[in-house]
């Protein structure tokens, strides 16, 4: 295999990882909410807010950390809103989510216009890629795995944490029970309401981190609707990943890789109509569902409000 090919593949893999992370954070967020029985269809909106406030914080204070915190705070607030409507008011989680999406699109756009109304948008300070010193320059490995900013690795760590929490802690067991059958959980003395609130707020925070990832590591600029539908893909990544953190990771990598592959093919200029190339990730997802995912079992109480008499 000649050098050109190797570079192509290396680029592709590194790119796949970068493309997956902005899906991974919201997917994990959505997963956590859904495991507790609440559908988070607000991921897209929460990403947008994360992206905007991440950008804003970093650009105002010059510290991406403060940006990240502001982004997460915004996500937490939206999470709180969704938690309230779905847990206390028991109204449609789907539609509240859609509403949060539209609202966030608007509010971020509006605020963005307030801070900059002239042509030259101002750059935010980005998180640098971690410098692994010598390791970084290991040919293939270095380029693929050691060329990213800390948030990328944080994403992977989150996967491990979530998996550990779900399957290796008592609170994780109770947590999953809440999503399977709140009444059973309650009879076992588990506080359904608290668990669900936590879940949804955390999911908001994670989703907003996904957004902040875009403006704090990928591009230094916020643009209206920068999340560009990733929040929706994230929702399918959850099902594709069979509601399991590791599965979700694979699903996000699949989407990322497919998207990256699609770009690589464009670079090769094979004369395939670009629309078909852009379809690849979506078709892949469907094939994956049929191929090796099969029947997915969602948490039994997902989307169902818990009524106590």
């Amino acid at each position: 295999m000649d050098a050109a090919w190797i570079t192509t593949i290396v680029t592709w893999l590194a790119m796949s990882i970068r493309m997956s992370i902005p899906l991974l954070f919201p997917s994990l967020g959505g997963l956590i909410a859904q495991k507790a029985g609440v559908y988070n269809f607000g991921l897209e909106g929460m990403m947008l807010c994360g992206a905007y406030f991440g950008y804003y914080g970093s650009y105002m204070t010059g510290s991406p950390w403060i940006g990240l915190l502001m982004g997460m705070a915004s996500g937490a607030l939206l999470g709180l809103l969704l938690a309230f409507t779905s847990i206390h008011l028991r109204v449609s989680q789907l539609v509240t989510g859609l509403g949060i999406g539209v609202f966030s699109l608007g509010i971020t756009g509006f605020l963005f216009r307030l801070i900059s109304y002239d042509t030259d948008t101002t750059a935010a300070i980005l998180f640098p890629s971690i410098n692994f010193g010598k390791l970084g320059s290991i040919p293939v490995i270095g380029d693929i795995f050691l060329s990213h900013s800390w948030l990328v690795y944080a994403g992977f760590v989150m996967v491990i944490l979530t998996a550990w929490f779900f399957y290796h802690t008592t609170s994780g067991l109770n947590f999953r029970a809440v999503g399977e059958n709140p009444q059973v959980a309650e009879t076992a003395g588990v506080n359904v309401i608290v668990n669900r609130y936590l879940a949804v707020v955390v999911s908001g925070i994670l989703a907003s981190m996904g957004g902040a990832f875009l403006t704090l590591t990928q591009t230094a600029y916020f643009t209206e609707n920068i999340s560009a539908g990733r929040g929706w893909i994230a929702i399918s990544a959850i099902v594709l990943g069979k509601f399991n953190p590791w599965g979700v990771l694979l699903a996000c990598l699949l989407f990322g890789a497919a998207d990256a592959a699609q770009m690589q093919i464009q670079v090769m200029n094979l004369g395939i109509p670009y629309q078909f190339l852009l379809m690849i990730p979506y078709i892949m997802a469907m094939l994956a569902m049929v191929g090796f995912v099969g029947k997915v079992r969602s948490p039994a109480a997902m989307g169902k409000p818990y009524i106590k008499h």
Binding site: Y167, T169, T170, E180, T187, A188, A300, K308
Partner: protein, 508 residues
């Protein structure tokens, strides 16, 4: 005055949309006693207990527990106060393992880690102590209802309680299993555990309880001590009339054979070595009740599904009125006059979110008179449903109530009514009286006998040996998918019991 009692309910009132479930109920429980709650379906037994345990909240009234006013009734608090409850509808999560279900809510020895192995040991100890054998690693959805019941019991025993509530714990146990349970209960009671026991089976109540309270229509009728009452009095108090427990039926010779089960076998999809059913042969005559006795999960469900066209056998034939119907669809069979009362009312028999009226026409909706041309006839349907709830005594504010809001007993009556009210030649009934009160049971039994008189062919599948012996002309015993023996109402209970348990067989 409340002080002297261990537990006191004072003027408890609880209403659900359109239903007054508990109407000013006051009840006292002595420490160290076994106190039984009796009452018709929908009388309010479960609701009262669910309130104590904190699943529901009373609209008004107080609870006094160990001399103090017990205000914060939540499950968490109940557990803290040493109240344990075995719920009527199993509080188990189907796609969690048995172990996970048992650990749920327990605090780990070294948090936050989930010490599965530690719990496994602990639980196995308890299980052993009470002689319960369980595979902790199976998913709950994979185990039989009877087993699930035992898991519920184990859960309560493991968590340990000073006050143990059991809501219809025996409804799916075999007589032997029930006896084992009672041994445990008495044992616990010796050690000072107070027990509240809900059951529809008067024998059991008389056997183990010290005091007995009767609820009717959400009101407390009376509380008696076992010594100064009798089963007949109790049933009169519950239902308001005498209940006969013996039926005499005309013994007529077998007419034409209507239903032939010809050498049916069914192989397990997942494990081809395993037979769910093995060479089952049966002939059922017109106007005869054939009972199939057996411990739960010995192939009864599969047999019923094959007869009703929901499953195809691996080999063998089903004949009805002489035609081979093995490959008929369920609808075709229904149209031929097959009626089926499945055992799982909540998942198989009813659509819980549908109104009573809609559930009443689940199978016949497309036929005249319910459908004319392309449209459903609301009026006709409602009349039909109204007639059903009055004739079958379904306790509900209206036919527009979703059946999920009915007490399970009343849910069952809806199914029974539906199946009896449509044209029926062959009646396939499975566990027709699970969770029913004595009145309702007698009612269903009478209906079955009535059908028999009218020449309907009845195949009665039940784990309740008493029931089978009472009703069936001929009894077959099924064990691990095979018919292992035949008997009749005169045969010796012991022998049948042994066959059910698989430790004895007539056929080879």
């Amino acid at each position: 005055m409340a002080e002297e009692f261990y537990l006191s309910f004072r003027n408890i009132r609880k209403s659900f949309p359109g239903v007054l479930a508990l109407d000013d109920v006051s009840l006292d429980i002595y420490k160290g006693q076994i106190h039984a709650l009796l009452g018709e379906n929908g009388a309010g037994k479960s609701t009262l207990m669910n309130i104590l345990y904190g699943l529901y909240h009373q609209d008004s009234g107080e609870i006094y527990f160990e001399g103090e006013k017990y205000t914060q009734n939540t499950p968490k608090n109940a557990i803290k106060h040493g109240i344990g409850m075995i719920h009527q509808h199993f509080m188990l999560i189907p796609n969690f393992t048995v172990l996970e279900n048992l650990i749920l809510g327990q605090s780990s020895p070294n948090p936050p880690k989930l010490e599965k192995e530690y719990f496994r040991q602990e639980i196995l100890k308890v299980a052993e102590k009470f002689g319960i054998t369980v595979d902790l690693d199976l998913l709950v959805e994979e185990i039989s209802v009877g087993m699930q019941q035992k898991i519920e019991i184990l859960k309560a025993l493991y968590k340990g309680a000073e006050l143990l509530i059991l809501d219809e714990p025996t409804s799916v146990l075999t007589p032997q299993e029930s006896q084992e349970l009672f041994k445990m209960l008495l044992d616990l009671n010796q050690k000072g555990t107070t027990i509240i026991f809900i059951s529809h089976k008067l024998k059991e109540v008389m056997q183990i309880s010290n005091r007995i309270s009767v609820l009717r229509d959400g009101k407390l009728i009376t509380t008696l001590t076992k010594e100064d009452t009798t089963p007949n009095e109790l049933s009169r108090l519950m239902v308001g009339r005498e209940i006969t427990s013996r039926y005499e039926k005309s013994s007529e010779a077998c007419g034409e054979t209507v239903l032939v089960i010809d050498d049916i076998s069914l192989v397990d999809h997942h494990n081809h070595q395993r037979h769910l059913l093995k060479n089952v042969n049966l002939n059922v005559c017109r106007g005869e009740i054939v009972g199939i006795a057996g411990v739960d999960e010995n192939g009864q469900k599969e047999l019923a599904e094959i007869i009703s066209g929901l499953r195809k056998p691996t080999s063998g034939k089903i004949l009805m009125f002489g035609q081979d119907v093995t490959n008929y669809s369920t609808r075709q069979l229904i149209e031929m006059g097959l009626s089926y009362i499945p055992s799982d009312r909540r998942n198989q028999g009813l659509v819980m979110d549908f109104k009573i009226s809609e559930n009443a026409i689940l199978e016949t909706h497309y036929q005249k008179p319910f459908t004319k041309g392309i449209s459903l006839q609301k009026k006709v349907i409602n009349q039909f449903a109204d007639n059903l709830i009055s004739e079958y005594d379904v306790r509900t504010p209206s036919i527009n109530v979703p059946v999920k809001n009915l007490s399970g007993g009343n849910q069952q009556k809806v199914i029974v009514g539906r199946e009896f009210l449509k044209k029926t030649h062959i009646l396939l009934v499975m566990q027709p009286t699970w969770g029913l009160d004595v009145g309702a049971i007698e009612f269903v039994h009478r209906k079955l006998l009535e059908a028999r008189e009218n020449g309907v062919t009845v195949l009665l599948i039940s784990t309740d040996l008493e029931e089978v012996r009472k009703l069936a002309d001929r009894i077959f015993v099924i064990y691990e998918g095979e018919i292992v023996g035949q008997a009749d109402s005169t045969s010796d209970v012991e022998e049948i019991g042994l066959m059910m348990a698989g430790s004895h067989r007539q056929y080879r």
